[in-house]
């Protein structure tokens, strides 16, 4: 059934191509232009707004025929966007954008979804850790994909030498933390934290937040290639407008948004997805978003994060911030339309 559908859609795409080739008339330009969005991960409520915008035809209304391609382990949105395999990308975050620019990939960040660090460090309330100073000598697991630098920065600010903390790469599973084998675990607010909470109970958990230590690490960045930014600015604007509308709808009607997501990935756990959307909304509407609108690029936060990566020597030299971050596409949309 699916193969036939793809076959039919490719037939349709072929026909569309043919029709644009044959009749290069301006009247036909109203046909939506095919484009793709590469997500950073598998379909889930973290990306609800995009799915809502597709379902409600917001992209079509902007003249974009958008296909959402999920991510997965070992594929990188920056790479696929830079090479033109995908038009848009919701990529890892400032970490991956900086790394990509550092390695010379021609990608431009046109919006940031999560304004705050999306993960927290979790300990048990009945354990020995009451403050960050107590991390000393304890077993901490974290992701070595950026979260480790946030952790080290938080430790350093608290006057703890990171070398004195037993930092290990984190499991796929939170079970070692639940079983008490490790003292501190890293958890995204919308995913792992939910799993830990449902297994242990929220009252047994204490969390440490990066922003409390003056560190920040915005993630889930919207990227396009330099070529797209230069040659199709209208398409980028249209994409952003439709995306923002999709997210506004998702926040207004979370139930409907989860329905849309569950249609894409029916094996997901509904309760978890509802929790995820609530948390994602907090991350996306934090900071300056109330005034400046969704997906706003807060350059102060960007600079803090860049310093973090320079200190950790993840990037060799400061990147060209003006070339890497482009707010003009967002600014082209009236700010009233962008507010959550």
């Amino acid at each position: 059934m699916i193969p036939r559908r793809t076959f039919l859609s490719s037939l349709a795409a072929g026909a569309a191509l043919l029709s644009t080739a044959v009749g290069a008339l301006p009247a036909l330009a109203a046909d939506p232009v095919p484009a793709t969005l590469r997500l950073k991960w598998l379909p889930q409520a973290q990306f609800a707004g995009f799915y809502v915008a597709v379902a409600k035809g917001y992209y079509k209304a902007e003249g974009i025929d958008l296909t959402i391609n999920p991510g997965g382990p070992n594929i990188l949105a920056e790479n696929l966007v830079a090479t033109g395999a995908d038009t848009f990308g919701l990529s890892g975050g400032l970490d991956s954008v900086f790394a990509a620019r550092d390695k010379g990939l021609p990608v431009v960040c046109v919006g940031i979804a999560h304004q705050l660090t999306p993960f927290v460090f979790v300990v048990r309330t009945d354990g020995p850790i009451k403050s960050i100073q107590d991390f000393k000598g304890k077993k901490v697991t974290t992701w070595f994909t950026g979260a480790n630098h946030v952790l080290k920065a938080m430790l350093t600010k608290a006057g703890v030498d990171p070398a004195l903390v037993d930092i290990q790469p984190q499991q796929v599973s939170v079970t070692p933390f639940v079983d008490g084998q490790i003292d501190v675990v890293t958890a995204t607010r919308y995913n792992e934290y939910y799993t830990i909470k449902t297994r242990m109970g929220e009252e047994k958990l204490r969390t440490f937040v990066a922003e409390d230590s003056g560190v920040t690490f915005p993630r889930d960045t919207l990227i396009v290639s330099e070529t797209t930014a230069k040659e199709k600015p209208e398409m980028v604007k249209g994409f952003l407008r439709a995306t923002i509308k999709g997210w506004q709808d998702a926040f207004k009607d979370p139930k409907g948004a989860i329905d849309t997501v569950m249609k894409v990935a029916p094996t997901l756990d509904r309760a978890h997805q509802e929790f995820m959307l609530t948390e994602v909304q907090k991350l996306m509407t934090a900071g300056k978003v109330k005034e400046d609108g969704l997906f706003w690029i807060d350059m102060d936060a960007v600079k803090i994060t860049q310093q973090l990566f320079l200190d950790a020597k993840v990037i060799a030299k400061p990147v060209d911030l003006d070339a890497t971050f482009n707010r003009s596409f967002l600014e082209a949309i009236p700010v009233a339309e962008r507010r959550p």
């Binding site: 059934m1 699916i2 793709t36 590469r38 889930q44 382990p73 790479n79 079970t175 094996t267 756990d269």
Partner: protein
């Protein structure tokens, strides 16, 4: 069914060829049911937490609760597997014939093939997406990459095992090279080829599943990943069950084709 493949040919009766497999099928099903029931009982008895091993009934419930992704995933993965398997098998046999005929080419290219097989496919997932996009073709390509090599090796082995006296005899009757190939060499190589095809049936499925890890929405590989990263152990088991169904079914079909075509016995 593989049990029969390794029994001595003498133990395989020629008659009642339809009843036997049926009986075997019924017996395997009975054993499977017994094992599942035992697992259910033991898990309840020892109070095993569902995030280690869930009860089989939970897994079944999970599939029945949302059958659509499992059925669609099964069909999608099956299509990718078949595409990879068929193209891999045909290419494998064709290249074996080329190598068989042209020794120079074989010595030039074969080592490259060997080296290519030492590369973990998953490592260039990004490249595959880059080259083929998110299409069926990308998965079929990976599946093909894993499939063709064992077929080439075994087909070559089979072609070279042809009795030179028979070859000389056919030549003396004026058989052309093409006739030699289709009448003598390929039939003689068939048992060896089928040994590889049975192996390739499993490998092509692996290729399809791994291919689905590079960003797709439908497929058993997608369900496996979703289960893993959401720590949904029941979901993982449900996907594994579907993989087992697909793997066993495909293997059985290849083995049945082998029994039908290589009636003169597939001794290794």
């Amino acid at each position: 069914m593989s049990a029969t493949a390794f029994q001595s040919p003498a133990a395989r009766p020629g008659t009642s060829s339809f009843v036997r497999p049926l009986l075997r099928g019924v017996r395997s099903l009975a054993i499977l049911l017994a094992v599942l029931l035992a697992a259910e009982g033991l898990i309840v008895l020892f109070g095993v937490k569902p995030w280690y091993v869930p009860r089989p009934s939970l897994v079944l419930n999970a599939i029945l609760a949302t059958p659509e992704p499992y059925v669609q995933g099964f069909l999608r993965t099956l299509a990718e597997t078949l595409m990879g398997f068929v193209s891999g098998a045909l290419f494998g046999i064709a290249i074996a014939i080329v190598f068989f005929r042209a020794r120079v080419l074989r010595e030039l290219i074969f080592p490259v093939f060997v080296v290519s097989q030492t590369i973990p496919v998953i490592a260039f997932g990004a490249l595959v997406v880059l080259w083929f996009g998110n299409t069926l073709l990308a998965k079929a390509a990976i599946s093909f990459y894993l499939t063709f090599f064992p077929v080439t090796v075994n087909a070559l082995l089979g072609l070279e095992s042809v009795d030179t006296r028979q070859e000389a005899l056919m030549r003396s009757f004026g058989a052309s090279r093409f006739q030699l190939l289709t009448r003598l060499q390929l039939p003689a190589a068939l048992p060896q080829i089928f040994v590889a095809l049975r192996l390739a049936s499993a490998l092509s499925l692996v290729g399809a599943i791994v291919g689905e890890w590079f960003g797709d929405t439908v497929g058993l590989g997608v369900l496996l990943l979703q289960g893993m990263y959401n720590e949904n152990v029941v979901g993982i088991w449900a996907a594994i069950a579907m993989c087992a169904l697909l793997g066993t079914g495909f293997y059985a079909v290849v083995a049945a084709a082998e029994r039908a075509l290589v009636f003169w016995g597939a001794e290794q």
